[in-house]
C-alpha cells in the first residue's frame, strides 16, 4: 500500500515532502474563491449535464452547494452573498431573470434568522433546514415561472424536490472536501 502511494506521488510529480511542515501560509485566494466558484460551478452544472428532461428533475446544484457552505461554515459569507450568486445562477437556470437572486437572498436571510435562535445544531438539523429551504425554493421557482407563463402543476416538481433533498448530503460531503483543501496550508 505504501509502495503504491509512493508510486502515485512519483507519477503526480514533486510533492511538498521537502517543504517545511510548520508555519505554512494558506492561500487567501483559494480560501476565498473555492466556495464561490463551487457554487457557480453548481449553477452551471444543471445546464451542462447531459439531460434534456421532459420535466424538472435535476436538483438545483448551485442552491445545494450554497446551503451546504452556509450551514457548514456560518459567518464565512456575508448575508448578502445570495444576491450575486443568485444573479449568476439566473444566467443558467432558465427561470425569469432575478428569481434566484430573490430566492437565494431570502434563503440566506432565513438562515440568519435561524442562527439568531442560537441553539446547537447537528448534521440532521442542518439537513432538515436545507430540506425545507430547498422545497420552498423550488416551489417559489415554480410560482415565479407561473407568473411569467402558464406553470405546470405542483405535482411535476415533487420528484425534483425529493431528489434535491436526497442530494443535499452529497453536497455537504463535497463542500467538506473542498473546505479541507481550501484551508490546507
Amino acid at each position: 500500500m505504501n509502495q503504491l502511494l509512493a508510486t502515485g506521488r512519483k507519477l503526480l510529480g514533486p510533492s511538498r515532502e521537502y517543504e517545511s511542515r510548520i508555519d505554512r501560509e494558506q492561500s487567501p485566494a483559494r480560501m476565498l474563491l473555492v466556495p464561490i466558484l463551487s457554487v457557480m460551478a453548481g449553477s452551471m452544472a444543471t445546464s451542462t449535464l447531459p439531460l434534456v428532461a421532459g420535466s424538472p428533475l435535476l436538483p438545483p446544484f448551485g442552491l445545494l452547494i450554497l446551503l451546504a457552505w452556509r450551514l457548514m461554515r456560518p459567518g464565512m459569507w456575508p448575508a448578502w452573498i445570495g444576491l450575486p450568486l443568485g444573479l449568476f445562477d439566473d444566467l443558467y437556470n432558465g427561470q425569469p431573470f432575478g428569481s434566484s437572486a430573490l430566492v437565494w437572498s431570502l434563503c440566506m436571510i432565513a438562515i440568519e434568522l435561524l442562527d439568531l435562535r442560537g441553539v446547537w445544531r447537528d448534521y440532521m438539523r442542518d439537513w432538515l433546514i436545507a430540506s425545507v429551504l430547498i422545497m420552498l425554493a423550488l416551489l417559489a421557482g415554480l410560482g415565479i415561472s407561473g407568473l411569467a407563463q402558464p406553470a405546470p402543476e405542483v405535482r411535476i416538481i415533487l420528484p425534483q424536490i425529493v431528489v434535491s433533498i436526497l442530494f443535499y448530503p452529497l453536497a455537504v460531503r463535497l463542500c467538506a472536501r473542498l473546505d479541507g483543501w481550501r484551508l490546507a496550508t
Binding site: S47, T48, P50, G54, S55, L87, P96, F97, R121, P159
Partner: protein, 301 residues
Amino acid sequence: MAPPRHRRPGFSRRAQYSLFVTYLLAIAGAIVGGVLLLISIADPTGFAALRAGAAEVTAPVARGFHALRRSIADIGENTSAYFDAASQNAELKRQVAANRTKLIEADALRAENAQLKTLLNLQKELGDQVVTTGNLVSSTASSSRRIAILSAGSNAGVAVGYPVRAARGLIGRVIETSPNTAKVLLLSDAENVIPVIRVPDGLPALASGLGDGTILIRPVDLGINNFKRGQLVATSGSGGLYPPNIPFATIVRKTSDGALARPIASPASSEHVMVLRPYQEAAKKVLDETLKALPESGADE
C-alpha cells in the same frame, strides 16, 4: 455544532455597524432580485443577451454529451410516472378487468351463436324426430346424482324416457317432467347405462356413468379390450331408446376391464339442447308406415 459566535462582534462600533450593514445589504439584495424578477417578467427578452452569453459558455460542454443525452432524455417522465405508478397500476388493472369481462362475454356470445347455428342445422336434418329445444338451466351440483334441469316440459311434448342431445353429442335422457321443466339424467350419472359402439370399427360396448363427470365404457365382448386414448364412442341405437350414431364420448384412459371416457357434449358447456323422440318409437313409426304401404305382404305370410 455550537451556535455561531459572530452574532455579537464585541464592543467595536465599527464591527457592529458592518454586521448591521450586511443584513441591510442582504435584504436589499432580495429586493433587487425581486425588482429584476418583475422587470424580466414584464420584458422576458430583456436579459436574453446575458443569458445567451452564459449559455455560450456551457454549450460546448453540453454539446459533447449529445449522444448520452439522447439515451436518458426522458428520465424525468419516467421518474414522474413512478410517483403515480400505484394509481396508474390500479386504473390499468380496472381497465383490464373490464376488458376481460367484455372479451369473455364476446367469446360466450360467439360460442352460443355457433351452438345455435349447429342446432338449427341439426334440427333441419333431424326433422320430426325433434320434440322441442330448450336450455339446461341448472343441475344438481351438490348431489351425487348427475341430473340437469331442462327448461322445457310436458307442455312442449317432453315425456319421460326421451333422449336429450346437444349439438355436439348426447346429453342424457328425461327422467321426470313437469309442465315447464324436465329433469335430465346426464350420461355421467351412475344409473345411466347406454349401449354404444366404438366409432371406426363398431365394437359394441356398454357405457355407464361414474358420477364424477366420466363414463366407464365396458366392451360387450369381455376379453377384447383394445381401447386407446382419443378413440370416439357413439350410441349404437340398440335398445331402442337412443338414436344411433349420436356422438357420445372420447376415451380418456384404458382400464382393466374397459376404458374411461369423457362425454363429448359437456352439459356445462352446452346450454341449448334438443329433446328427441325415442329411437324405437321413430323406428316403429317407420315400420308401421312400411307395413301400411305393403298390406299384402303380411297377408301372404
